[in-house]
Amino acid sequence: MVCLGKRRMKVAAPNIREYFEPVLGTRPWKAKLGVGSFLTLDFGRRVKDRGHMHGEWHLWIYLSNWALFHGDRRLADSDSDRHVIAVAVRRLEETSLTDLRFEREQLKTTFVFGDFRLVVSGADYLDDADERDYYWLLFMPTKEVLRVGPSGIQVERDETPHYA
């Protein structure tokens, strides 16, 4: 399927964890609150794109419900006060991404950072959610973008890397 310079790769039941292998065991050098409850986490080499620094590996937690735990303690979730989120999410810069768990039936992803867990599932606040309302996206230096959303898991390759 060809669409505006993008090639959709048909990957049968991709193993999400495999895509994260290169960054497992590494710390996000930036973990930040974006618009609303969106989060961005940057791994790997720092690259500059149009005046903004980000990682070669760039994880964007997008239209989702999420919760961040430290052990059993819930530090923040996607409905928390923005200041609380900003402080809580920065704590992920202290530790490495150690594991990733994906529950295919619920399309629920748990990003494990040592004792921290970031649990991400679909947004329950969209009345008309469509296939582009991704829960999260991972931009990779291989020009691929891994996405999980209402339609499941997708991997696309773009013509240019995200830091071109």
Partner: protein, 56 residues
């Protein structure tokens, strides 16, 4: 405005930009727009203007 409202507003702004430029934004363009407006507290209209400036 709640976090949910801001999320929905960004989503709606992307859709509006796409309507005005008559094409879908790529994931990378989407991400670039998000980076550009993060922390600036822009209104819906301003987000659309920024997007048109970047991709229009």
């Amino acid at each position: 405005m709640s976090n949910r409202d801001q999320n929905r507003e960004f989503r709606a702004a992307v859709r509006e930009i796409e309507r005005l430029i008559s094409r879908k934004l790529t994931d990378i363009e989407w991400d670039r727009l998000h980076r550009e407006i993060t922390g600036k507290g822009f209104s819906f209209g301003t987000i659309v203007e920024v997007g048109l400036g970047m991709f229009g």
